[in-house]
């Protein structure tokens, strides 16, 4: 029973265009969401996050949108760059166990030059 789902295992985008990575969740107890980026042979690194009381958070080329009614969040990367090619994990934190994260299965993004 996956509480955090990333239904697209992979995504290919042309350099300069927008990349949109999606994540769905099922648990209403999640109060905070994070996106991590992972390169091969490295650990995940934090990218951007959003609290459940907000619907948008922006950091440079990266924007995360949260639609609580749909239990859906998305990560937008504009413009996409070849260095953005990596696996992206969506993660969620429960308000009653804020020390641990529930991860999605990841989406592999390829940005073509």
């Amino acid at each position: 029973d996956q509480q955090v789902k990333q239904n697209s295992p992979s995504l290919s985008v042309q350099e300069g265009r927008i990349s949109i990575l999606n994540c769905d969740y099922t648990n209403s107890m999640f109060d905070y969401f994070l996106w991590y980026k992972k390169y091969p042979a490295e650990g995940p690194t934090f990218l951007i996050s959003i609290s459940s009381i907000k619907d948008k958070n922006e950091d440079g080329r990266f924007t995360v949108f949260l639609n609580k009614s749909a239990k859906h969040l998305s990560l937008h990367i504009v413009p996409s760059q070849p260095g953005d090619s990596a696996v992206y994990f969506c993660a969620a934190r429960r308000r009653d166990s804020s020390y641990k994260l529930i991860f999605g299965s990841g989406t592999r993004l390829l940005v073509r030059p």
């Binding site: 996956q2 955090v4 990333q6 905070y32 994070l34 042979a41 490295e42 650990g43 995940p44 690194t45 934090f46 996050s49 609290s51 994990f89 993660a91 934190r93 804020s98 020390y99 641990k100 994260l101 529930i102 991860f103 999605g104 299965s105 990841g106």
Partner: protein, 115 residues
């Protein structure tokens, strides 16, 4: 980079043998975690520690045990390795008990193959 060292980084072992993975941190963070990453599952929490000698189970703890005798070291032991435990194991650390923004840091991973 957060001061996290995982060892060994790669290991091949036989079914039924015990295996211990070590996570060492130089940040003096209170919380330490072991996750495993598998295709189609993302990262799943195995065990975590909230202080020396204080540990608890995560969502996939069966077949694993942990120990934390010092703040800086968190050991993950597979008592009798099985092929289903072939995975990439990530250690993580955080200073507080509340994960938000960039407050949890991951090691580089340990690749374990059980044959």
């Amino acid at each position: 980079d957060a001061g996290i060292t995982q060892s060994p980084r790669h290991k091949v072992t036989e079914t039924g043998t015990p295996v211990t993975l070590r996570c060492h941190q130089t940040e003096n963070h209170r919380y330490m975690y072991w996750y495993r990453q598998d295709p189609g599952h993302g990262l799943r929490l195995i065990h975590y520690s909230y202080g020396v000698k204080d540990t608890d189970k995560g969502e996939v703890s069966d077949g694993y045990s942990v120990s934390r005798s010092k703040t800086e070291d968190f050991l993950l032991t597979l008592e009798s390795a099985t092929s289903s435990q072939t995975s990439v194991y990530f250690c993580a650390i955080s200073e507080s008990g509340q994960v938000f923004e960039n407050t949890i840091y991951f090691g580089e991973g340990s690749w374990l193959t059980v044959v």
